[in-house]
Symmetry: C2
Subunit: 415 residues, 2 copies
């Protein structure tokens, strides 16, 4: 027996229905925010990912040489494809606000919240220099989580690459990239180890100061009041005010870096409030990426949210939709009335109801058992009475059963 | 500049919105027919496809050896994955009716209606031996096409593997598989070539008779009246009657084979009525496949429909949705009123409207131009009047403009 691959999922109808409810909700919020759906190839030239992310990400790809000798890969992230799409259409009227919810693949060791195949919701705004786009994207991310029942169950942590770069420079730390890499790993390694590594690229005094700064987390004005930098202070307070106009709040947390090196401004991550899980979502501003793919200079800000951590968190918080299938009607058939039953089912389907029908030739009691199994709200039994245009309708919850004229049948429930 | 791969598509918002309308409609019809959505991995062990389809299909796969040395492939079809899912859950209460609409990949030369990456809608019923399941699946396929505006624009062609096998045997043709392979290619090769190839596996007399039988196309009873076989006659007439109860019709066309060797009964294909395009969809009964994957004997019938031919046909027939984006509201901002504008946008979004908002700081005339570009139905201008709880609402179609109290704003249009 051939099994599925490790880190991949089979989604049976019960689980899929719950997931579909969640996915639809997420996309609906994106539409409410004036974002438009796009779709990109799931396979791209491997070079597309080398441009932006370097060899590091290549190690984690499902990449291969195709039958035509091309070095190609399953997409491990969306940004390069989207940036390519932006770069190759000079006629696009900016700003553009795009979202999509594709599958992605990463060749990593599967663990809780990390799969080899996953879905990732992506939303990006291209063509807006100023902070109002960052606010719009942050508000979208938070509204998605709130609308999924996660209000107060997560923390949105925001930082700023420009501010951090200024801080690093003022501390005399010149290897900024290395510092970012290190800070990004801070929560994953022991405190000592972090401190020792830091001292390799900075003085002991600076290292101490930096550790202190990285521990600052909280309301933006409180955190900012402890810093000397004034250049970015106003921008960050403006961001806070704009986000507040959306009725949302974030904390400033300078330890947030977002590993990938291409961010150029605001970066953010949402984490479960208990701090038990990997990041729920992450994103930021990346003003130089579209140029990398041959496009005009195009400021950009966006985020990605995988489905794995989100599902774990929603289940933990009891807000994941019930995993069950259901239909509005099951049409049961007394022997000899199949064609009449099909007509009744067709009638109900035309009205938009979800309708299953007996396809075998089981006894009525077995058909009712089956109707229960698929969570039919009502069972319509088609038999002799159909000659008088009537069918028996059984409410599967209450057990109540009555003869109904087929013209009145759709009044029983709304689709 | 790195291009996308040949045979792959970038889907910009305008095209994607049309596609989403079509995809949603298809899934909604499946739900109305009592089918439930599932999801399968996009990558599987290559062996999974060897089991069912043999080496032939392997040539057309995007397959490779992963970093762990596994021979894996992007899925070229869905049936093996679904059969594996059925086989590995002994507790499933039958029948089950499943659908999905995943991406698939085939390494073939791209041409009109054939891409290397495409979406394919799939629907299958497992666990029903009798012909009522074939009828349900056929009716679903036809209802999908009808509901997409293709009524009378396509022909559903049905044949029967058992009937054809009986005919081949009665003609003394023993290499049944070869004959099916040949018949499947009939429309793709010149008549002479077909006839000559046929004579290699049959007598001249039988070849002539077979050519005649293959030319029989039309109403099931007319076609059947010209055949000796009686064993399958009743089954096929029953199928016709059941499908008729769904208000649908098909023609019997014995030249339909469906290349893949695993079909065991009814096979069918829908073609555009003008006969210009590749098949729109195809399917049939495959009662032995689940066993191949280690499951119990499980009768099955289903079909697959790619998105490429469907799109070409719908565009040709003028029923493809208009390719344009739109939003309900664009919120324009007079300088100094950004936060108030965000609050108005948030209010409208909470009510379910699709709302974009000015993210730059453009002049009102430029903002209105942009609102037009994104096909906003209304533009809400937030300025001084917000102090009196009022905004200017402009109907973008009629140009009509009036001051509206923000409490009345959502009465203007329904979401």
């Amino acid at each position: 027996m051939i099994q599925r691959l490790r880190g991949f999922r089979d989604m049976y109808p019960e689980a899929m229905r719950a997931r579909r409810i969640v996915f639809n909700k997420i996309c609906e919020i994106a539409l409410e925010f004036g974002f438009h759906e796009i779709d990109t190839p799931s396979v791209e030239h491997l070079d597309l990912f080398r441009v932006k992310s370097g060899e590091e990400i290549i190690k984690q790809t499902f990449s291969f040489v195709d039958k035509g000798g091309r070095e190609i890969t399953l997409i491990p992230e969306l940004t390069p494809s989207v940036a390519r799409m932006i770069a190759s259409r000079k006629d696009l009227v900016k700003p553009v606000k795009w979202f999509s919810f594709p599958k992605m693949w990463r060749y990593e060791e599967p663990q809780s919240g990390r799969l080899r195949e996953f879905y990732q919701f992506n939303a990006d705004i291209f063509g807006v220099e100023n902070i109002s786009a960052d606010a719009e994207v942050l508000a979208l991310a938070m509204e998605i989580l709130d609308s999924l029942g996660l209000k107060n169950k997560y923390v949105m942590r925001v930082s700023d690459r420009v501010l951090m770069e200024n801080i690093l420079k003022s501390l005399g730390i010149k290897r900024v990239e290395n510092a970012f890499y290190l800070i990004d790993r801070k929560d994953k390694i022991p405190e000592d180890e972090f401190y020792e590594s830091l001292k390799k690229i900075s003085s002991e005094d600076s290292a101490q100061q930096l550790v202190e700064i990285l521990s600052l987390k909280g309301e933006p004005d409180k955190v900012l009041s402890k810093l000397k930098d004034t250049e970015r202070k106003n921008t960050l307070l403006e961001l806070r005010d704009l986000v507040k106009a959306y009725s949302k709040e974030f904390i400033l947390d300078l330890s947030v870096v977002r590993g990938l090196a291409y961010y150029t401004g605001i970066v953010f991550e949402a984490h479960d409030a208990k701090g038990e899980l990997r990041a729920i979502l992450g994103g930021g501003r990346y003003d130089n990426v579209v140029e990398l793919f041959g496009g005009q200079h195009t400021p950009a800000v966006g985020f990605g949210m995988g489905d794995a951590v989100l599902e774990i968190l929603m289940k933990r918080e009891g807000v994941w939709p019930e995993e069950k299938i259901e239909v509005d009607f099951f049409v049961a058939i007394i022997p000899g009335y199949r064609k009449e039953a099909i007509k009744i089912a067709t009638l109900l389907r035309k009205k938009g109801f979800h309708v299953d029908i007996e396809l075998r030739e089981r006894s009525i009691s077995k058909q009712l058992k089956y109707a229960n199994r698929i969570n039919a709200k009502y069972t319509v039994i088609v038999g002799d009475e159909i000659k008088k245009n009537r069918v028996t309708v059984k409410n599967m919850e209450t057990g109540e059963q009555r003869l109904v004229n087929i013209d009145d049948i759709d009044a029983i429930i709304q689709p």
